[in-house]
Amino acid sequence: MIPKNVIGAGIDRVDGPLKVTGSAKYAGDVSLGGMVYAVPVTSTIARGNIASMDTSAAVKAPGVRIVMTRENAPPLFKGGNDYTDACQSGEDWMPLQDDEIYYDGQIIGLVVADTLERAIHAADLVKTSYQSCRPMIDLTAALKKPDVTQPATALGQPLQYERGDVDKALTKSLVRIDQTYTTPVQHHNPMEPHASVAEWSADGSSLTLHETSQWVVNSRNSIARMLGIDQSKVTVRVLSPFLGGGFGSKGYAWAFSALTAAAARELGCPVKLVLSRRQMYSLNGHRPSTTQTVTLGSDRRGRLKATRHLCGTYTSKVFEYIEPVVLSTQLLYKCSSLQTGFDLARMNTGTPTPMRGPGETPGLFALESAMDELAFATGTDPIDLRRLNYAERDPRTNNRQRWSSKHLNECYDRGEEEFGWKDRPKKPASRRDGRWLIGYGMASATYPAQNTSSSVKVSLTADGRAEIEVASHDLGTGTYTILCQFAANELNLPVSKVSCRLADTFLPPGPCAGGSQTVASVGPAVIAACNKLLKFRAAGEPGEETVTIPGSQPNGFSWQSFGAQFAEVRVDAALGRIRVHRFLGIYDVGQIINEKTARSQVHGGIIQGIGMALMEASAFDPYFGRVMTPNLADYHFPVNADIHGIRVSFINEPDPHFGPLGARGLGELPLTGAAAAVANAVFNATGIRVRDLPILPDTILAKG
C-alpha cells in the first residue's frame, strides 16, 4: 500500500505490539550476566548531619557485595548545570561526599548484593543516627527568610518584568481583582520507576548505561562528569529505547545513576538499580508548591488596564531550580501595564525539577482563575472577556511582533459551539440535577513552541525498507510512529516498511524529550535525510544519509501554542463530592502529525489537569519534613472512574513561520489551564471560589 496523506493520519503506534506483549525492554528489564543489585540507603530526616552509620550487620548479610557510605565511597563530582551544552544534572551536589542532610530521602548509602531481596534486606540493616534540626518545610515561612532571592530570568526570559505603569493603571481601573492562589507540591509519578543498569568493559575503557532517560545525550555527559570520566578516554554509551512516562522527571541526570556506575566500576560486574516508589518522592524531582498573587485592573466591561502577577516558590538546598511561573502572564492577554515578580525560597525538600508544563501549569491556574473572577465581577461572559483582551500580536514587544500563527479566537469560537457554552448557567449555583449542582467553566491554555538542533541517519535498502536512527526519545507518546510516518511520506513507502531506532548515544544526537520539542526538532531532520535518499529510492538502490538540522532561528515571529478548555462539573455540595462530567479541549498547535497519538497525549494532559484540580498533592510532615504520601494509594491522581466525556479537537492549521513542518509541540499544552477550567466550573456550579488546589471535599464543605 502506498501511503496517501500519511501525515496527520491516526496511524496505530508502531511499537504498540511490542508493548502490549511485554517484549519492549525498558531499562529496569535489562538483565546482564553476573549482574548484581543496588539499593540506596536514604535519610529519614530532612535536615541535620549524619552522626554515625553502623554498616556492620549489612556488610555481613548474605549475598552483600559492597556497602558504600561516605566512609568508603569513591569521589564523585557535580554533574554540571549547563542545559545548552547538554550537561544538566538535577542537583548541583553529589551524595556520599559529606555528612550533611539537606532533605528527606536523600541518598546516604548504597548496598549492592547478589539478589534484589538481599540488597533490600541489607539496606534495612544499615543503622544511621543523626544530629537533626527542624527542617524548613513551609513555603510561607521560607519566603520570609533572608536567603530568599529574586532571580532575574528563567529560560532566558525575564521573571522580574514591567511594562507601562501598573500602579497608575490600577488607580484608573474601575474593576479590580486582587487575590492569592496556591498550588501544592506535585510528583511526576510516571508508571515506570527510574532505573539504571551499568556495565563496564573489562579494561574500563567503556561504560554502557541502560537508563530511564528523556535525554540520553545529557545523561551521558552529566553522568560521565559525576564519575570524573574523560569522555575522550572512556566511551560512555547511554540507552533508553522505551520509557513508561517521565513528565520531566527523567530529563535531568540524577545522582543514583552515577552511583550505580560507580558501584559497577568498584565491583567489576554489571549493577542494576531501580528506585522504589517511595524513593521516587525524593530523588527525581517534583513540581514545587507556589503562592501567587494576581492583581487585575480593568474597565467596566473587563478590558485589562493593569496586570500584576507575583509568585513565591522554592528550590532545594542543593540546586537552584526556577519554576518559571509568571512567564505566560506576560504574553497571554493584551495589557499595556503589566508587572511580574518572582521570589525563590530555599526549603529542605528534594530538588524540584521541570514537570509537564513547568511554570505555565501553576501560573495559568492563578491567571485563568483571576480572569474568571474578573468575568464575574464585570458580568462579562468568560469567553467574551478573553476575546476582549485578545493579543493579536505579542504583548511583550509592545504589540509589534506577530505570532507565527495564532488561532486562539477560533479555539474559543469552536469551543463555545461544540461545548454548548451558550447554555451555561449564567448565575452561579443556579442549576441542579437532583442533588448535583451543575456548572460550566473555561480557561485558556498556552505553551511556547520551540525546536532545537537534531541529527538523524536514515538508511534505505534496495528492496525498499527504511530505517531511521536518532538519539531522540519516545516517552510513550508516539515518537517511533511519527518519525516512521515522516519517512514513509517522503520516501513514498508504507509505514510498515519503515523502522526506527531511538535513544542510544551511539546514534546521531537528538534533543531532550522536554519542552514539547521532539517532533519539531527531529521531524525536519528525518525529512531532510529522506529527501537526500530519494535518488537511491528512484534507482532502487541502497543508501544512507546523515543530516543535522539546526533549530529554528529567530525570524521576527513569536512562537506560541494556544488552546481553550471547557469543563462541566457536578457538585454534591452537602458531601463535597465533585465530578467532572465532561471536558472539551480545542488546541492550536499547527499541523497535527498523527491524530491518534496526539489525541491520546492530550487526553493524558487533561486527565492530569483534572487530577491537579481535584486531588493531586504531596504531603510533608510539618515537623519532620518527611514525605507522607510516598505511594500511589496515598498520592491521588485520577482513576478511570473519575474520567468522563473527554473530547479533543485540533485547529490543525500548519504554522507557516515555525519550522519546516508547521507543527508546534503539544505535549505540555493541555495541562496548562486545565485545572483553572475545572475550578472555574466549580465556582459556576456552587458559587464557591477555590483559590487553593486541590479542591477536595473538605474544601467545598469549608466554604459552602
Binding site: 458531601l575 463535597g576 481535584l614 510532615d621 510539618p622 471535599p697
Partner: protein, 339 residues
Amino acid sequence: MNPFRYVKATSPADALARMGRNPGARFVAGGTTLLDLMKLGVETPGVLIDINHLGLDRITEDLHGLHIGAHVSNTGLAEDDSVKKNWPVVSQAILAGASTQLRNMATVGGNLLQGNRCGYFRDVAMPCNRRDPGTGCGALGEQPGVEGINRYCAVLGTSPSCITAHPSDMCVALVAVDAKVKISSPAFDRLERAETFFRLPGDTPQIQTDLGADEMITGIELPKLPAGARSMYLKVRDRTSYAYALTSAAVVLTLDAGGNIDHIRVALGGVGSVPWRSHEAENVLLRSPPTEEAFRAAAEAAFAGAVPYQYNGFKIALGQDTLVRVLNELVRPGAGEQP
C-alpha cells in the same frame, strides 16, 4: 524487608498447630495488607503460614442466614447473588473499597484484620504507638499546633496514644448487619459479634482486635435481616475509586405499619478508631418517624462525642451529612444518589 520462612497449612487444625509452634508467625491469605507491610518493614514475621488451601472458601445459606468462609474473596462475597439481594449493604461496602484487583485477592477474614492506613504506622522512621508502643503518635504530632498529617484520622474513639481511623469499608457494613466472626483456637471455637471484635486504641493501640495469638478466623455469619429491611452503604472519598473513606455510613432499617422505624442499625466508617456502631444515633431513631429532623438529631447524637484534630475537623459535619443522606435515601429513594 526481613528474611522469613514460608509454610503451607493443610487444615485449620494444622494451621493453628503451626502457629502454636512459631510464636510471632503470621497467617497469610490474600496478603494484600500483610505483604505490603512486610515490604515496608512494619511486619517482620519469621514464618508465614499460608492458609489459602483450607477449604474455607465457600458460602452456604440456611434458615438463619449466610455462612461465609474466611477465605472467600472480597469479590466473591460482593458478587454473591444472595448477598446482593439480602444484604446489599455488604455488597455495596465491599465494592466501594480498594480496587478490583485488590478485591480479587483480598479475603473476608483478612479484611477483618486489615492494617490501618495511617502514614505514620506505615513508615518505620516515624513515631507510632500502634507499631512501636511508646514512640508517640506521629499523626497527633510532636508539638501543640504542629500536628501531623491527620486529615484521614478518626474523630471518634481516639486516644492520646493513637488517632488513626479504621480503614475497612466491609467491616462497617458487617457491624450494621450484626455479623458474627467465627474464631477457632486449638481449644475451642467461638463466635464474636463484629461490633465487639474490634478494640479501641486506649493505652494499647497495638492490640487492634479481640483475636488471640493462638486463634484464627474461619468465617463470618450474616444473620437474616428483619423482613422488609432496607440497607445502604455510602462512602465519601477524594476520588471515585481506590481511596479510603473520608466518611461513610452503613444503615439497616425497617419501618413498621405506622411508618415508624422499628429496626435500626447505624455504623460509620472513616471517622472511628474502629468500625463505629452508633448506638446514640440508633436510640434517637428507634420508634421515631423517619423525618429529616429525626435524621439530623440522630447524626448529631452520633458525633456528640467527636474530637477533631488539626486537619480532620470537617469529618464531623461531613460524617453527619453522610449519615443523613443515607437515611434519606432509604426512606425516600430516588433523589439522585449514586452510591
